[in-house]
C-alpha cells in the first residue's frame, strides 16, 4: 500500500488489518508515537491523518491507502528546527515523563490548525482525548495558549 508519511511517499507490504501504531513503531522505527492504553482512551498514540487527529491504535494500516499521515517526527520544520508549538512546550516546561507529549503535540497542532482563537477551555476540550499521567496539564495548556492569539 502507498501513503504519505511525514511528507514522504512510502510503499509498504504489510497485512492491512495491523494497527497503524504497530507498523509505525515496528516496521518504520518511528517510535515517537507511543502506546498507552491501546483502547482509544489516552491519546498517547495520536497521529494526524489528512490533518485530523486520530488514535493510531484504532486504525487499520490498510485504511491508509492514499492518505497523508503525520507523526511527531514530522512536526519539526525542515533542517530539524522545532515548530513554534514544540518550542513552547520546552519553554513552558510542558513535558514531565514525556510519554503523552507526542500525542499532546499532535492534538494541539490539529487544534491550532482549526483556529488560533483559543481560550483555556477550548484547549482543555481540544486536548480532552489526551491523558497526562503526571497530571501536568496546566503547563501544557499554557504552552498551547502561547501559540494561540
Amino acid at each position: 500500500m502507498r501513503f504519505t508519511l511525514n511528507g514522504t511517499a512510502v510503499s509498504l507490504d504489510v497485512a492491512g488489518a495491523r494497527r497503524l501504531l504497530d507498523v509505525l513503531r515496528e516496521d518504520l522505527q518511528l517510535t515517537g508515537t507511543k502506546e498507552g492504553c491501546g483502547e482509544g482512551e489516552c491519546g498517547a498514540c495520536s497521529v494526524l491523518i489528512d490533518g485530523q487527529v486520530v488514535d493510531s491504535c484504532l486504525v487499520a494500516v490498510g485504511q491508509m491507502e492514499g492518505r497523508d499521515v503525520v507523526t511527531v517526527e514530522g512536526l519539526a520544520l525542515q533542517h530539524g528546527k522545532l515548530s513554534q508549538l514544540q518550542q513552547a512546550f520546552i519553554e513552558h516546561g510542558a513535558a514531565q515523563c514525556g510519554i503523552c507529549t507526542p500525542g499532546m503535540l499532535l492534538a494541539a497542532h490539529a487544534l491550532l490548525q482549526q483556529s488560533k482563537r483559543l481560550d483555556a477551555d477550548d484547549v482543555r476540550e481540544g486536548l480532552a482525548g489526551n491523558l497526562c499521567r503526571c497530571t501536568g496539564y496546566t503547563k501544557i495548556i499554557d504552552a498551547v495558549l502561547a501559540c494561540a492569539k
Binding site: A15, Q52, G126
Partner: protein
C-alpha cells in the same frame, strides 16, 4: 490478528457482494470499537477478514432529501457535528456526537458503528430512538425501535450492511448524558426526550437502549410527574464498574425531570 484478511472494496455494491460471499467477515469503519476487540482477540466468532467501509463515498455525507435528513453510515461524528443540516434540524444529534470520546474518537466514530456494535451505552442510540430514525441497509429500512433485539444484538441479518440513517424533520429532542467526566466517558445514564410525540429513550439502564413506554404513556396524558415516577419501572439497571443500579435509577428520574422541566419552560 495478523491472519485476518483486509478487504478493501471499490464501491458499496462491491462491498455488499463481498460481504454476502465471505463467511467470517466483519465490517470495519472507524475502528473505535472493532480495532480494540480485534487486537485483544475478543471478537467472537473470530473473524477471518475485515471489510473496510471507511473510504466508501456512498456511505459518507449528510443529505436533506424530501423532508428527511439522511446521514451516511460511515460519516464521522466530526462530519455530523460540523453539518449545517444537522445543526439546524437535528441539534440533539450534534449534542450527543459532541459528548462521544474526544477529537480522536469523533474523527473516526460513525452512526453505523454505534448501531452495529449495539452497546447499551451507545451515546447516539437514544437520540435515534427519540427521533424515530430509520436504519437503511443494503436491502430494507428498519425502524429504530425494531433494531435492538438483545444485549449487543440487532435485527441485522448476518450478511446485511447498514448504509445510512434517516431522520424525519420537525421534532424537538432534548439530550443529556451523565458520565464520570465531560470527555472520554462511557455513560452511566444517557437520555433523549421528545415531548411531541412523547419519546423517552435511555441508554446504559438496560441490556439495550430502550424506550420508556410507561413513562411515555404518562407523558402523552400530560402527566409529567407520573412520567418521572413511571420511568423507574421502565428501566432495568445493573450494578457494574461504572455505577450502581440505585444510582442509575435515581439519576434517570432526575435527568428526565430536568429535561421535561426544560421543555415546559420553552
Amino acid at each position: 490478528m495478523r491472519e485476518v484478511k483486509f478487504i478493501r472494496p471499490k464501491s458499496l455494491a462491491d462491498a455488499v457482494q463481498i460481504y454476502r460471499a465471505t463467511p467470517g467477515c466483519r465490517p470495519l469503519a472507524g475502528g473505535t470499537d472493532l480495532m480494540v476487540m480485534l487486537h485483544a482477540g475478543t471478537v467472537r466468532p473470530a473473524p477471518q477478514a475485515v471489510l473496510d467501509l471507511w473510504s466508501l463515498a456512498e456511505l459518507k455525507g449528510v443529505r436533506l432529501v424530501n423532508d428527511v435528513v439522511e446521514i451516511g453510515a460511515a460519516e464521522s461524528y466530526t462530519g455530523i457535528i460540523g453539518s449545517q443540516v444537522v445543526q439546524q434540524h437535528l441539534p440533539a444529534l450534534a449534542a450527543a456526537a459532541r459528548t462521544i470520546g474526544a477529537a480522536q474518537i469523533q474523527n473516526r466514530g460513525t452512526l453505523g458503528g454505534n448501531l452495529a456494535n449495539a452497546s447499551p451505552a451507545g451515546d447516539t442510540l437514544p437520540v435515534l430512538l427519540a427521533y424515530d430514525a430509520v436504519v437503511a441497509t443494503d436491502r430494507r429500512a428498519i425502524p429504530i425501535d425494531m433494531f435492538f433485539t438483545g444485549y449487543r444484538k440487532t435485527a441485522l441479518e448476518s450478511d446485511e450492511l447498514i448504509t445510512a440513517v434517516q431522520f424525519p424533520l420537525g421534532r424537538e429532542v432534548a439530550f443529556r448524558k451523565v458520565g464520570t467526566r465531560a470527555a472520554q466517558a462511557i455513560s452511566k445514564v444517557v437520555m433523549a426526550v421528545s415531548r411531541q410525540p412523547a419519546r423517552i429513550a435511555i441508554g446504559s439502564v438496560a441490556e439495550v437502549p430502550l424506550r420508556a413506554r410507561r413513562a411515555e404513556a404518562a407523558l402523552n396524558g400530560g402527566d409529567v410527574e407520573g412520567a418521572v415516577a413511571a420511568v423507574a419501572e421502565d428501566i432495568r439497571p445493573i450494578d457494574d464498574v461504572r455505577s450502581t443500579a440505585a444510582y442509575r435509577r435515581a439519576v434517570t428520574q432526575n435527568v428526565l425531570g430536568g429535561l421535561l422541566d426544560a421543555f415546559a419552560r420553552r
